[in-house]
């Protein structure tokens, strides 16, 4: 099914905001930019929802400045996808150490030493038990 799109005029009619106000919210990052290029872009239902959410805040008497700080608090901090490659060393079954590839390349001897000591500690401990 094709995704429904709206022009800025239609968005204004649906939400009751003027064109000027919608442009301001987009400029301030309160509403996502339109899809497509520049001012001639179009909007989706998600834009309608964003504007209606702003409206519900305003109906509770919350102004834009207060809303921006509220939204910042509410918004979960984005988790950045990790680009690091980790090398996994199993010390003993159930215990492992992850070392970044960068670190491994940089300090190979130190890493090997850490693994060796870790193994000896883990084995020793296991043996004591």
């Amino acid at each position: 099914m094709e995704r429904k799109t709206y022009t800025i005029e239609e968005l204004g009619e649906l939400t009751g905001y003027t064109r000027r106000t919608i442009r301001y919210y987009v400029q301030e990052g309160l509403v996502d930019p339109p899809a497509g290029r520049g001012r001639g872009g179009f909007y989706y239902d998600s834009h309608v929802q964003q504007l209606l959410r702003i409206k519900s805040f305003q109906e509770k008497g919350i102004g834009i400045t207060a809303m921006v700080s509220l939204m910042k608090k509410e918004m979960p901090q984005p988790v950045l996808p990790s680009r690091e490659v980790m090398i996994r060393y199993e010390i003993v079954p159930g215990i492992e150490i992850n070392i970044s590839r960068e670190m491994e390349i940089k300090e190979p001897k130190k890493i090997l030493e850490i693994i060796r000591i870790a193994k000896s500690i883990a084995k020793g401990k296991m043996n004591n038990e």
């Binding site: 003027t18 064109r19 301001y24 301030e28 290029r37 520049g38 001012r39 400045t65």
Partner: protein, 791 residues
């Protein structure tokens, strides 16, 4: 300070941003009080993509902005007026379609937002904005005022967003410590033979005289846009009542320039109450830090000393919170003055925000005592964004309390100062930091004491639409009243201005002959439209004391829009829009880059960029006070440090920059000496009498021992101080003769001296050398002045 800093929540930008505004050029023509001003702003796109430049800038709040056009290459795009949201739609759509478009919105009567969209890469656009206005005048002096910077406005947390957009975003531009663009001016003052002097208390200027014109420019190519530009023109003759009738298209308009004189005593007694309560309100918010708070304290000290012993008074100071000297006003006496001065000495601008409503509400919560009329005198830079709320509050109480205001600083909020005093039936003065405070404050005080002349109606025998509907006038100050004639049944010979009392009977009337004009430069229709729009926007078209101010509703807004469109004058409900249909694919394809022009932080704001008093080299300077009918071209400029202008000082002035022109030495020697008038006034005692000291004896050219021996021979009543009575009589006679042209500065101050003396000179009049005291004093003063002239 680092690249950027934060002050009161206002981000000060670092330098190095791309600024598309290249420069601002102002061309003005002034004739009498009328001024036509064209402002040209040049924008250039140095980016590789099309840009949208957005620039917030100030204009005088009473300007009738009636022209807007864009010069793009060799093409001219004439702007037209449209309803505000409709104009934005047209602009936005034009940009989306890749056209070049320009939009100008009025955010406040003194703050405008210009958007110049889709300037091509490498392209430039010049925006020309034209306004007409009638300049403020008092006696024979007019004041040309051009704001150049917007000072950051404080927005109270309670202030509602406007159409979902925070107010601070509408009126506060981004700020920078320095901007790459500057201001150039070229001001032609017509009929030069009528001009006595031209001065600027804010900038160094050059004045050239040619044919019928005096032309003023800055002495440097460009001035930094960090402070308002003020030009004071003094004419040979003061303004008198004038009335004009003009026919424009199919309509007829009246313009009455009304400059009332002192009312006859019997009339004055009718409308001036016996008791006066004066409440001073001083702004101690953060924006007043630095120069402004010192100016304000000095103004207030002068005013406190000028009060009369039959008055009651109080002082409030405010910022985020407020406090007061007394819970309620107290009589003016030695004890209260001492307490007031002590309170003032502990006052500084450390009260953060600018919450102006709570102290005013506290004053208004009780009516003035029976038989008392209350005047509030507000001293502020007015840097707030909730002007409408303040205007509404003071208007509700204007039948019991008038509010007058002194605007301080390099960029005070003129809309607040003028708007609030207009609504509260008060007087206002804007004082640039380089102007002498005393005369301004004392002349305001004189207006406050003399009271407003309100409930004025034009009568020309027919049906008219008057704007402002309820004008407020003050003696010797020109106030313009306009009218559109609805039916052509009015006299074209003369017009009557009637002043009514609250019962609807006529108190005074002025009959003024009508002069026919055919004015194309300053069309009366546009000036009428500006006033009419203001009446509707501010709700000031309502009688005094109207409890329910009608906020601008849909119907009124439509009326404003209709008037604005019909007469081509911008309003808060309309915008100027210009579109050049020259879409090119690059615009549409790549979108535009938004570049917001930063505004230079006002000099002295928050104590930032405040200038050290003694080491500066870029001080604003007076032009040479030059008679306009002289044939000497004046090019020389020189620096006069602040301390020389402000107060008596024995310090030597800075050396002139250039070779001195004729008259400079005289002027400098005049400035170097202390001002004898202020020296006299500063010796006034609370009861109105005068102290005798060495300086007074020097001015009056009489020795202390001689004065005492004359006084010893006098008979006075009630065991009064003979010496004090004698000195007071001489000083009053001396002021009348020597300082008649500066009456506004001393008249209000010495009213208590007159009262003191009147008690004594009523029968029996004390005799001096066989003559009554008053006539002896007058002869004595004449002798002193005669002797000094001979010398």
């Amino acid at each position: 300070m680092n690249d950027s800093s934060q002050a009161e929540g206002i981000l000060i930008q670092s330098n190095g941003e791309v600024v598309p505004l290249v420069g601002v050029d102002v061309q003005a023509d002034i004739a009498g009080r009328g001024a036509k001003v064209k402002i040209s702003q040049q924008f250039k796109n140095t980016e590789k993509k099309p840009i949208e430049a957005v620039y917030k800038f100030p204009l005088p709040e009473n300007a009738a902005v009636c022209g807007f056009r864009a010069l793009i290459d060799s093409r001219i795009v004439e702007g037209k007026i449209e309803e505000k949201e409709k104009a934005f739609e047209l602009y936005d759509k034009a940009l989306a379609d890749g056209h070049e478009a320009q939009l100008m919105d009025e955010e406040r009567p003194n703050i405008f937002t210009l958007s110049v969209g889709n300037i091509k890469p490498g392209g430039s656009v010049i925006i020309e904005i034209t306004y007409i206005t009638l300049l403020d005048s008092y006696n024979s002096e007019v004041r040309f005022f051009l704001p150049t910077t917007i000072s950051p406005r404080f927005t109270p947390a309670s202030q509602k967003d406007e159409n979902g957009i925070p107010v601070s975003a509408l009126i506060n531009p981004p700020f920078a410590f320095a901007v790459p663009y500057g201001l150039a001016i070229n001001i032609n003052i017509h009929n030069r033979k009528s001009i006595a002097s031209i001065e600027s208390p804010t900038h160094t200027i050059n004045t050239k005289f040619r044919d019928d014109l005096a032309t003023v420019t800055f002495s440097t190519d460009k001035a930094v846009m960090d402070r308002d530009f003020v030009l004071t023109i003094t004419y040979e003759k003061g303004f008198t009542n004038r009335a004009y009738i003009s026919r424009e298209k199919d309509e007829t308009f009246l313009q009455i320039d009304f400059t009332p004189d002192d009312p006859p005593e019997e009339v004055q007694a009718n409308y001036l109450p016996k008791g006066r309560e004066i409440v001073f309100v001083i702004d101690c918010s953060g924006s007043m830090q630095g120069d402004s708070i010192e100016e304000a304290k000095k103004a207030l000290e002068i005013l406190v000393k000028a009060l009369n012993t039959d008055m009651i008074f109080n002082i409030y100071r405010f910022g985020n919170a407020f406090d007061h000297l007394y819970k309620s006003s107290r009589p003016y006496n030695e004890k209260s003055v001492k307490e007031a001065l002590k309170y003032l000495s502990k006052t500084d601008a450390s009260m953060n925000g600018t919450q102006i409503l709570p102290p005013l509400a506290d004053i208004y919560k009780e009516d003035p005592a029976d038989g008392f009329r209350r005047d509030i005198i507000l001293i502020t830079d007015g840097e707030i964004s909730n002007e409408d709320e303040v205007i509404e509050l003071v208007q509700r109480h204007n039948n019991t309390t008038a509010l007058s205001a002194v605007g301080i600083g390099n960029g005070p909020n003129e809309f607040l100062i003028r708007g609030v005093t207009r609504s509260a039936g008060g007087a206002s003065e804007l004082i640039a930091p380089w102007e002498r405070i005393e005369p301004k404050v004392l002349s305001l005080f004189r207006k406050v004491l003399a009271g407003r002349i309100s409930n004025l109606k034009i009568d020309c025998g027919g049906d008219i639409d008057q704007a402002p509907a309820y004008p407020v006038a003050f003696i010797r100050q020109a106030t313009s009243i306009f009218a559109k004639i609805r039916r052509n049944d009015c006299s074209d010979k003369s017009v009557t201005v009637n002043q009514y009392n609250r019962q609807g009977t006529i108190l005074r009337k002025w009959i003024i002959n009508l002069e026919k004009i055919n004015e194309e430069t300053m069309p009366t229709s546009k000036l009428w439209a500006r006033e009419k729009i203001r009446d509707l926007e501010e709700g000031s078209g309502l009688p005094e004391g109207t409890k329910q101010r009608q906020r601008i509703d849909g119907k009124k807004q439509k009326t404003v829009t209709d008037i604005s469109r019909q007469y081509g004058v911008i309003s808060r409900s309309t915008s100027f829009i210009g579109i050049e249909n020259n879409a090119y694919t690059e615009n549409k394809a790549s979108g535009t880059v938004l570049l917001v022009v930063p505004t230079c932080v006002t000099q002295g704001w928050h104590d930032m960029r405040s200038i050290p008093r003694f080491s500066r080299t870029d001080v604003p300077q007076y032009s040479i006070r030059q008679r306009a009918d002289s044939h000497i071209d004046v090019h020389e400029s020189y620096a006069i440090p602040t301390f020389l202008r402000r107060e008596a000082s024995d310090n030597k002035p800075m050396a002139p920059f250039n070779k001195a022109a004729r008259g400079i030495r005289n002027m400098l020697s005049h400035i170097r000496k202390s001002d004898p008038l202020l020296d006299i006034l500063s010796q006034q005692k609370l009861g109105g009498g005068f102290n005798i000291n060495k300086r007074i004896c020097e001015i009056l050219q009489i020795s202390d021992s001689k004065l005492r021996s004359i006084a010893d021979g006098m008979q006075v009543k009630n065991g009064a101080d003979r010496l004090e009575i004698l000195t007071t009589a001489i000083i009053l006679a001396f002021l009348e003769l020597k300082f008649a042209d500066r009456r506004d500065e001393w008249e209000a101050v010495v009213s208590k001296s007159r009262s003191l003396l009147n008690v004594q000179v009523e029968n029996p009049n004390p005799m001096v050398d066989g003559n009554p005291l008053d006539s002896w004093a007058e002869r004595f003063a004449k002798e002193i002045l005669g002797a000094s002239q001979m010398a």
